[in-house]
């Protein structure tokens, strides 16, 4: 087993035999800085939530998961053994609510990724229908990530059929996931999905699905379109607020979290997991 990539909160290993291992750590990043204090079980909670969604979406599209049990003991519970895919160079984003860069693009153009939207929308408004707003990690000449159009997706993946499938699958998964979460009092404002092609050329869902690292989660009972300062993140707002209260300048290294902040943050990750899945976290 060898590490082939290390992120702030997740790592990637290549296993003997060629399978890949996606490992979620307990690290928390705030304002893009990984804090020095772990949140116990965060990696297990996000891995369990992602695995739960993969199972629920298995009738929609094949996925890259081989097993969450057949993993090295040291990573038990926090890792997924996956099939390597030829990853497509597009981040497939579905939005059910208007915020962030999408809001800015809307305010400038009245449209997001070429999709025209009704007039008069404000930050965090629910959209009439979810929209597909793909992007790429390749930076533009201006140095910023920008949304790309559907035609750009066709060019990036080299096939209009695959591009069309990406759009339909992304919106289908988002609609299903958002509906389930909403029943449980959680708004999934938007989400990012990644796909690849397996050895047979079959479009396959990869990475993680509908976790708080790849989506925006808001509490339904706190949702307030147009709220000054924006919506509050369901699970990370507590640690964000605390980190700002310390006077931290949001640069490396971040402050160490006291025990009560760790406990409160962990409790929110558990709450999100239990609300969405309807299961009790017993780890």
């Amino acid at each position: 087993m060898k590490k082939v990539h290390s992120g702030k909160v997740r790592d990637l290993y290549e296993l003997d035999g060629g399978d890949l291992l996606l490992v979620a750590t307990d690290r928390v990043s705030v304002y893009d800085v990984a804090l020095p204090t772990d949140v116990p079980d965060k990696g297990k909670l996000l891995t369990s939530l992602s695995a739960w969604w993969f199972e629920r979406m298995a009738d929609v599209v094949p996925n890259h998961v081989i097993s969450v049990d057949d993993v090295p003991e040291e990573f038990a519970g926090r890792a997924m053994r996956c099939r390597p895919l030829r990853m497509l160079p597009v981040e497939c984003i579905a939005r059910g609510y208007l915020t962030g860069l999408g809001l800015r693009e809307y305010q400038r153009d009245g449209a997001v990724s070429g999709v025209t939207l009704p007039e008069g929308l404000v930050d965090a408004d629910r959209l009439p229908e979810p929209i597909f707003t793909p992007t790429t990690k390749l930076q533009t000449e201006s140095g910023h990530d920008e949304f790309i159009t559907f035609d750009d997706v066709v060019e990036a993946v080299g096939s209009s059929d695959i591009a069309e499938q990406l759009r339909e699958l992304t919106l289908d998964i988002y609609r299903r996931g958002a509906a389930r979460a909403l029943e449980q009092g959680v708004i999934i404002a938007d989400t990012k999905l990644e796909f690849g092609l397996d050895a047979n050329g079959t479009l396959t869902l990869a990475d993680e699905v509908l976790t708080s690292d790849s989506s925006r989660f808001w509490r339904l009972d706190e949702w307030q379109p147009g709220r000054p300062g924006g919506q509050r993140s369901y699970d990370k707002q507590y640690v964000r607020d605390w980190s700002v209260s310390t006077g931290w300048d949001k640069t490396y290294p971040g402050p160490a979290m006291p025990d009560d902040v760790v406990a409160a943050t962990r409790a929110r990750y558990v709450e999100v997991y239990e609300r969405i899945t309807g299961l009790t976290w017993s780890n």
Partner: protein, 80 residues
């Protein structure tokens, strides 16, 4: 991995080989530092040696996934 036909070599593989080499020499090496910086360094060494650093395509595709958590997602997708 290495490919003698087109003079390429996997810089990730090279970092692991260097780790094992130094370990065998009894040096107190760890892998606690910046892994991606190490891979960048290995790539530079390969280029200096006239080889082209190349990570296997299937792994390279996964390396471009977002491994940085919610704030990285927010920054890239939402610009905040």
């Amino acid at each position: 991995m290495s490919n003698s036909d087109d003079n390429t070599y996997d810089p990730v593989h090279l970092t692991h080989e260097v780790f094992r080499l130094l370990l065998d020499k009894g040096l107190p090496v760890t892998r606690d530092g910046d892994f991606d910086a190490a891979v960048d360094g290995a790539s530079a060494i390969l280029r200096w040696l006239g080889l082209e650093p190349e990570i296997p395509a299937q792994v390279a595709g996964y390396r471009r996934l977002d491994y940085n958590g919610q704030l990285g997602y927010n920054r890239r997708i939402h610009g905040d």
